[in-house]
Subunit: 133 residues, 2 copies
């Protein structure tokens, strides 16, 4: 499926910017199947949610506990409550956690099944890495 890999170089026909290309057909085919720019931007922002140790710990905590208020969350992940609150704002904005009010307390839980998958794949990845060493 890779097509002609001859030594000739070309220039992208689309777009004004001149970029050298080895296999124009493959590039064109891949560009077609590639998510759009705004889609990859959205995906990167979504993945970024997990790309911080504090947020990751918080997510694993709510994954395990199911339900946790802010101060218990702070005690669990061992971080000041203010930091937890900031992180939760991020997570809420990204639609990853759901907040439930109970009296004075706010209980947070996971609200994204795909993120749950990501967390589990991550854990599996870690186990896999440890086995190799």
């Amino acid at each position: 499926m890779s097509g002609s890999a001859s030594g000739l170089r070309a220039v992208t026909s689309i777009e004004a910017c001149e970029v050298r290309v080895i296999d124009p057909a493959k590039v064109a085919a891949t560009r077609d199947r590639l998510p759009s720019t705004w889609e990859t931007d959205a995906l990167a922002d979504w993945f970024k949610v997990l790309g911080d140790a504090t947020r990751a710990r918080i997510l694993y905590a709510v994954l395990e506990a199911g339900d946790l208020c802010v101060c218990d969350l702070a005690a669990t992940v061992d971080v000041p409550e203010s930091t937890v609150s900031h992180a939760l704002r991020w997570l809420r904005g990204a639609g990853v956690v759901r907040a439930r009010r109970a009296g004075k307390m706010m209980y947070y839980s996971l609200d994204d099944e795909h993120v749950r998958m990501l967390l589990e794949v991550g854990r599996e990845h870690l186990r896999h890495r440890e086995q190799i060493r």
Copy 2:
């Protein structure tokens, strides 16, 4: 499984730092099941790989094409080759892509099945989000 949710507050027995806790039993249980600090750090770093639009585009490109040299990659994701090269160093360091030399060119391909899963879950997530709107 959540146990007593009475209004009393306590202080973490472990660690010197004083943190208010509502449900000490739940906190202790969750802490036990939580990945260690260095594990969550490693996981966050791993997820961070996907948390950048350029890297995400590169990964989706090699996922689709299977195999791509740097200049074709640059043309596919539409960024300067230097930027691609920098991003690839990241990805190589994280063990996410594999480099294969072919003459003057370097061909990059995905080298982490779990990352492949993440990319696919991401795509599915996007479709799911679009359905809702």
